[in-house]
Amino acid sequence: MSSVVELSRWQFAITTVYHFLFVPISIGMAGIVAAFQTAWYRTRNPQWMRLTRFFGKIMLLSFAVGVVTGIVQEFQFGMNWAGYSRYVGSVFGAPLAVEALAAFFIESTFLGIWIFGYKRISEGWHLATIWLAAFGSALSAYFILAANSWMQHPVGYKVVNGRAEMTSFWKMLTNSTVFYAFPHTVIGAYANAAFIILGISAWYLIRNRDSEMFAKAAKAMVVVGVIATAATMLIGHFNGQLMTRQQPMKMAAAEALYNTSKPAGFSLFAVAPFAEHPSRTSFDITVPHTLSLLATNSWNGEVKGINQLQAADVAKYGPGNYEPIIGVTYWTFRLMVGAGTLMVLFLLWGLYLVWRRKIDRSKWFLKLALPAMALPTIAITTGWLFTELGRQPWVVYGLMLTKNGISPSITAFDVWVSIILFTVIYGVMGAVAVWLTVRIVKKGPDPEVDEAGKAVEPNLHVAY
């Protein structure tokens, strides 16, 4: 049985992490492309129209992969986690159903009209459809994060007849956890999209192709990106403080803080003895007082340690180990914060270049903008791994253990079949999507003038 649990966890991790490589790009690009189109609608400057169409096509590739991998998300709770679905379905199912009803319909329907509808409906309505699609995609994030926040910090339910039953949908939707998780995630998605558009624009600026237009895009993305990244980190900081109160074990694991400390230092680099559950670090460089300050707003605030929390959990929940894998939690947290810090620093450099009006000629910045496209993906992926692995062994914190959520009727063979085939199709699909994106980028945006030197008519068709 344990192998079915382990395999199912791997499958969930693979399908969900993969899904979320594309989703933030889609969410963020939808809003930014809508802003480009709005700029064209208001100024009639054809460059905005060409940017809309060009980045619109790239956005649609991301949407396509995000949408199809999202279908799996809706169903795999029942497939691999029937125990979980039965126990929490009356609470957890509701935001999923409402997400489909309220958000997916808006997103998919209006995106379809946007792709095919140019000149069939008025320009104003056509502009409205991309905004509605952007709104729908962000709204869907709200409901799914409300569902996830309930797993981190369950509210608005009671346990009746051996299962969790909802007592207040309002409490679930206004969970303090989702108030931080939602802006952290969605603003982070805009930062991600800004880095993608900035990186692609830099590619053109280096080659001196359509420089005027891509300089416009790059400047806009530096400004959007720096605001979005800084906001994401700031909200993440408050999110961390909330987590220290709601899931103290996760914060202790994030810092590899084995023993309750007052004051606590922020760990920069730690190593622990090689064991399944080490009870101490063997080497730890810390900045004194910093963790106390970050986590509790107080110079000498107390931060609980793993050993004490484990003992308290045993007293509360019975014998067992209630620690996540400390090494993974510790390092994913550091990668997330580290990637985010690099993002802010890079964009501050960009901001300086924008201010000095030389961003389009700064070779080093533009060259680094290409690999920098990976930073948001690293931050987002490690952030989710941290959030979800740091909650273990719980699937619903303090309420249900992950191992109890498994489907009793599936076999290791079943899961092996699906895990291998999902990985193969996802791999092929991702490779094709990236290859097509590179192809679109190399081909470049539509020309502003045709061969005869005549201005090309406005065209926002992005249909296949």
Binding site: G78, G93, A94, F104, S409
Partner: protein, 355 residues
Amino acid sequence: MHGLWNLETLWFVLVCVLWIGFMFLEGFDFGVGMLLRFVGKTPEERRAVIHTIGPVWDGNEVWLLTAGGATFAAFPNWYASMFSGFYLALFLVLFGLIIRGVSFEFWGKVENPQWRSVWELAMAVGSFLPALLVGVAFANLIRGISLDQAGNYTGSFWDLLNPYALLGGVVTLLLCLAHGASFLQLRTVEPIKARAAALGRILLPLAAIAVIGFVLWTFGEVSHHSPGLWITMIVAIVAMVAMAALGAMGRVGLAFVAGGLGIAMAVATWFTALYPNVIVDSNDHAYNLTVFNSASNHYTLVVMTITALILVPIVLIYQIWTYYVFRQRVGLGGSSAEPTTPEAPAPPPEASAQV
């Protein structure tokens, strides 16, 4: 005993409505996907065929996601038992939906015959698998699968492939094909239209025969014949006969409407045959899952009912608007979705300058 007036039954009906929406709308999408290479011979024709569903297929698919989400929220035990019990079958459905979904976006990006063929094949296989397997799955719920006390499926993948269930799969497959053939005749121009008509002349009667055979078998399969079952079954049979007859007479629009009604009533027949069960236990019905023992608590159902009553009408309004926006036939313009139509040879000036 429970009467009919309770939230559990209401949600059973709503889940049924969501499945009808899915089978009606994605039915023709799947049909178009499978028929693509038979009705379109040149790249321009195939583009036109894909564009008949291009703007709407994704919105149509959300009906399935909503049906899944609503089942999870309203009937967690049904959701858990069905999706874990049909694990590999459902995996194949997901596989199909994945390759089909990306094929629309990938297909037109490269102008190479082999590339196009790969994604046309993905569209066809990706439409075929869910069209077939949805029927197999639902037929098994009625016929009964082996459940334990906790509601977990105890049989194997192969037990799901019994004759009744396979006929159920053939039924949904043929319904999608027939519905797609009618849809294409309404949305395309010659020569695609004529090819769809030729296929429709075979597919419509076949679908009608399969549905009629299947609802009669279903009627024999269940012991309790409620008035609802009688009504849905009779309307399904009449609608299917009408569909085949109208199709033969060349009244395509009416055949499409009759086919749509037939799909709705075929799905409704399954649900009325199931009720009050949601999954029948094949071992003496000892552990049948019913709408009552698989449902969420009352509060959740109330919240979900209010939400659905507010949101479903709004969704219907804007989805119907979409079909209104894309009401014109898709011509063979060559390039992407130009709003030109054969009925309107001179497009308005602002639309004439498409690239």
